[in-house]
Symmetry: C2
Subunit: 190 residues, 2 copies
C-alpha cells in the first residue's frame, strides 16, 4: 500500500459507474473528433434449422484501434415451436427488444452518472406488436417488422421523469430503431 | 414401433425445418387474419453500473393466445471497460447486430424451406459504424445510433444470390431497422 495516501483520490462513482473513465473518453474525443469513430462487428454462423449464433470478438474504438473482448461473447438465436423452431433461445425479434431496452437503461444510468444524478432502480416492461402476415409473406401490405413498440421504464430517482427521459433518449439503439437506417446487405454464393 | 407404417408420413424437412409446422401457421392465419397478430415482450432489470438483463417468459400468438417459453430466456448486457463498463456481456449495440443478422439468417433459411430450396451453409459478417460523439452528447449534429451497417452473408446453395436475398429480406428485424418505427417510451417515477 502506498504511503502517499494523501495523493490518492478515490474515483468518483455514481450509479456504480466510474465517471472519470467516461470523462476520459469524452476528453479524448474532444481532443480529436476522429476518436469518436467506432465500429462493432460480429460473425454469425447458421447452426441448422432455426438456430444460429453470433460471436463478438472485438470492436474498433478511436478511429481504428482494435480492442479485443476478454473472451468472445456468443449469442444464440432460435424460434418458438409454433414457427417450426426448437425454442432453445430467444428469437431475433426478442433480441431486438433486449437491445433496445438494455440501451435505454444504460444510456439513462450513464448520462445520469456524469451529471451527478443518482438512480436507485430501473425496471422496464417492453411490448412489441407484430403482424406475422408480413414476415410469412401472406400479405405484401403488412409491415414485416414490429408495428409498434411500447416501453415503460419504472425509475426510482429524485430527478423528474421528463429529465430522466431526455437522458434515456441518448440511446444509440433507440435512435437506430426510431429512425430509418439503410442496411447494406450483400449475399455471396459459394 | 407402429405396425401401420404405411400410414405414417414422414414430415417434410427442408434445411432442418419441418415445413408442415410453418404451413399450419400460415393456414391458421389464412383462415382468420387476426391470428397474425402476435406480441413479444420482456422485463428488463438494471443490475447496477452498466449491467442489466432482460427476461423473456412468454409471447402472444394468434391475437392474444399466451404461450410460455419452456424456461425464461435471460439476456445480459454490459459495456466495454473503455465506456466505464465491466465487460461481462455484449453491449446493446452488439445485441442489435445479433438481432439483425440472426433474423436475416432465419428468414432466409425458413423461406427457402417452404419453397423447397436447399441451403447448406450460411456464415455472416456484420459491421456497424457509430460515431460515439452522438451518444456521448459531444455533438448534437451527430446521429446517436449506427450510421451504417454492412452485412455480408456467405451462402452455400445452388439458388442464385438475388433470389436468396429476396428471401432474407422477409426479415422482421431488417424491416424494423431499415425503416423508421416510432417507439413509445414512458418513464414512471416511484
Amino acid at each position: 500500500m502506498s504511503t502517499n495516501q494523501a495523493t490518492i483520490q478515490a474515483p468518483k462513482v455514481v450509479n456504480g459507474i466510474e465517471v472519470d473513465k467516461v470523462m476520459s473518453v469524452i476528453n479524448n474525443i474532444n481532443a480529436d473528433a476522429n476518436n469518436g469513430k467506432w465500429q462493432f462487428r460480429s460473425i454469425n454462423q447458421w447452426t441448422g434449422s432455426t438456430q444460429n449464433q453470433s460471436e463478438f470478438n472485438d470492436y474498433l474504438a478511436n478511429n481504428g484501434e482494435n480492442i479485443s473482448h476478454p473472451k468472445p461473447f456468443v449469442l444464440e438465436a432460435d424460434e418458438p415451436l409454433l414457427l417450426g423452431g426448437t425454442n432453445i433461445a430467444a428469437n431475433p425479434v426478442e433480441h431486438l427488444l433486449h437491445a433496445l431496452t438494455s440501451c435505454l437503461t444504460t444510456s439513462l444510468v450513464a448520462h445520469a452518472a456524469v451529471r451527478g444524478i443518482s438512480v436507485e432502480d430501473i425496471n422496464t416492461s417492453t411490448e412489441g406488436d407484430i403482424d406475422v402476415r408480413g414476415f410469412l409473406g401472406i400479405s405484401a401490405d403488412v409491415r414485416k417488422g414490429y408495428q409498434a413498440i411500447r416501453i415503460t421504464m419504472k425509475v426510482k430517482s429524485e430527478t423528474p421523469a421528463e429529465q430522466l427521459k431526455e437522458l434515456a433518449m441518448f440511446s444509440p439503439v433507440y435512435d437506430t430503431v426510431s429512425n430509418s437506417l439503410p442496411v447494406d446487405l450483400v449475399i455471396e454464393k459459394y
